[in-house]
């Protein structure tokens, strides 16, 4: 009897999980399906799953109207640039916090995290003014800088928890084995930290790619990334579901593909510390 209830329970929980999974995935599915419909079909029955005629016309129109490649390149430069910069700052910071912690290391980490609890809108005006005065509005440099700064706490935290998992005794063993600081970092530390650095990098690229508050507020055209590309289709001239969906699909496709191929790394990166 006990076994039977477990089975029923298992089926029930599985069903719930599938439903939740589908609900989360639904908007993406809807967007993709919508992007292949004609604009007429899309307006007539936005929630119909199937269309009378599948078409690529929205994609054609989107490409004609705006230069997808330029937005795409901006997104790539901004997300990669801010990630590399954040890693360059965060790796040494996380090393020192993990391996030579001071009295205030814990406080410092908490303080860094607390900056993420503040709504971004709260500092929009001073940020905007600073960007204006430094001539950073609508520049890639400006966006790389701000995305580096807003993601830095998360990057430091992730690397810190990851480095914490590397047992200090292994580093001591390397020192006993005659390794200099350089060899210790090169042959022992880095190979052991690579998975952690890789998953941090991936997650940060995704966060930066999807960041839509600062990228929309601080750019207009020159440095505009794909978030701006999508936004430009929900304009006063009216909502064109199919074109908006085609633009959205084109904007999320690269990161979706990246996420798909790196999901193992990502899950590992997000759960480390949770399981030994």
């Amino acid at each position: 009897m006990a076994r039977k209830t477990t089975q029923t329970r298992k089926a029930f929980v599985t069903a719930i999980a599938w439903i939740i999974g589908f609900l989360i995935f639904f908007p993406i599915l809807w967007t993709i399906l919508m992007s292949f419909k004609s604009e007429g079909d899309a307006i007539k029955a936005p929630f119909a799953m199937l269309s009378s005629a599948w078409t690529l016309e929205s994609y054609g129109e989107v490409q004609e109207r705006s230069n997808y490649l330029r937005f795409f390149m901006n997104s790539v430069i901004i997300s990669l640039g801010s990630t590399v910069l954040a890693l360059v700052i965060a790796i040494p910071a996380a090393w020192s916090m993990a391996f030579v912690p001071g009295k205030r290391t814990k406080d410092l980490l908490m303080w860094m995290l607390s900056t993420k609890m503040m709504p971004a809108v709260g500092v929009l005006v001073p940020m905007y003014l600073m960007f204006r005065d430094f001539g950073l509005l609508d520049t890639r440099t400006g966006l790389v800088t701000i995305l580096t700064l807003i993601n830095l706490p998360i990057v430091v935290w992730m690397l810190y928890t990851y480095f914490k998992e590397i047992p200090g005794e292994i580093l001591e063993a390397a020192r006993m084995d005659g390794a200099s600081l350089r060899s210790e970092i090169l042959y022992v530390l880095t190979p052991m930290a690579v998975p952690g650095i890789a998953s941090t990098m991936l997650l940060n690229i995704i966060l930066a790619w999807n960041e839509a508050f600062w990228t929309l507020q601080l750019t207009t055209s020159d440095a505009a990334p794909l978030t701006q590309f999508i936004a430009s289709y929900s304009s006063p001239e009216g909502l064109f579901y199919a074109k908006l969906s085609a633009a959205s699909t084109m904007a999320i496709a690269p990161i979706l593909i990246l996420g798909w191929f790196s999901q193992k790394q990502l899950v590992r990166g997000l759960t480390f510390g949770a399981v030994k």
Partner: protein, 332 residues
């Protein structure tokens, strides 16, 4: 060569003196065991010798050379850690070869040394595996292999067997002892297990609260413990330490008698009741309650038909009785 001399070595972490001051001399080729309860500073002392911790004051000399400020890599010592501390991303072979690579040895010579170490440690078939694919005992052997290939002037072992199960521990204990006989290199071994200390050491250093309580051969410590701490720590089961009126009869603050030095005789001076009896076959351990005294443990050889509640008489062997003063020091 591997003679290590510690002079007034002190270590404090912040305001806490972990090791107030230690003088110790370890001769070339000796097997020295640091033993003591957890938190007594034995691991810290080993890490000071290794160079993984800096001394607060005092000096450490290795083979007559002052090594106090040398980094670990320059001291010519090899260490085996409690957690094995193998490099998880390297194969067994690369793990063992790592110190040689760091020393810049050419690969043919390094290969030969690794092959030799693998043969001594029965690791030849596992050279291409990663540490994660090995059992606890095998990992421990890899850690020892990594230490051997450097041909260090001394080996440092930090509780190397405490992660192994009981049966394997006995095996590895013997393997390390045999290794010492083969290599004849100085070995310093830290443990909290006094059985390991007794069976392996040429010289035992008993530590308590950062101080050396006594240094001597295992049997020296067994026969003539310097104080009540050593008396209670060395020997299994523990020596019975008796205070009060019974000790006063012998003009001492405390008297000590080992469980194996008590004879069971009906007319013995100590009359008591068996509280607990443990039958191991080869030995029988009795816990005896005697009015006006601490509970006494008795070790009787062989199988003994005594049960809970039986009345027995005990007679301590006069020549094996230890007398300690109020300061805990042995009068003898």
């Amino acid at each position: 060569m591997g003679k290590i001399t510690l002079k007034s070595v002190r270590k404090s972490f912040g305001e806490v003196d972990v090791i107030p001051s230690i003088d110790l001399s370890i001769e070339d080729g000796e097997f020295v065991v640091f033993v003591g309860p957890s938190g007594c500073g034995k691991s810290t002392l080993l890490r000071l010798i290794a160079g993984l911790e800096d001394t607060t004051s005092g000096s450490i000399a290795i083979d007559g050379q002052d090594a106090t400020d040398l980094p670990p890599a320059k001291r010519g010592l090899a260490m085996v850690f409690q957690s094995y501390a193998l490099y998880p991303h390297m194969s067994v072979k690369k793990n063992i070869m790592f110190p040689l690579k760091m020393a810049g040895m050419d690969s043919a010579a390094a290969e030969a040394r690794v092959a030799n170490a693998a043969k001594i440690l029965n690791l030849t078939n596992y050279l291409d595996r990663k540490p994660g694919q090995l059992s606890g005992g095998q990992r421990q052997r890899v850690a020892i292999g990594r230490a051997i290939v450097r041909e260090p002037s001394a080996f440092l072992f930090d509780e190397p067997l405490s992660n192994l199960d009981a049966a394997l521990r006995v095996n590895m204990r013997q393997e390390i002892s045999e290794l010492h006989q083969t290599l004849k290199t100085t070995m310093i071994y830290v443990t909290h297990d006094q059985v390991e200390a007794m069976t392996m050491a040429d010289k035992i250093v008993v530590l308590n609260a950062g101080r050396i309580e006594q240094v001597g051969s295992p049997l020296d410590l067994y026969r003539s413990p310097a104080n009540t701490f050593v008396a209670g720590f060395i020997g299994s089961p523990k020596m019975n330490l008796i205070t009060g009126a019974e000790a006063a009869k012998h003009n001492a603050a405390t008297i000590g008698i080992r469980p194996e030095h008590l004879d069971i005789t009906a007319d013995g001076p100590w009359q008591g009741v068996v509280g607990l009896s443990e039958h191991l076959g080869s030995d029988t351990f009795l816990k005896v309650a005697i009015p006006g005294m601490e509970p006494i443990t008795v070790r009787a050889g062989g199988e003994l038909n005594l049960r809970h509640g039986d009345k027995i008489g005990l007679a301590p062997q006069a020549s094996k009785l230890h007398r300690f003063g109020a300061d805990g020091k042995n009068f003898a």
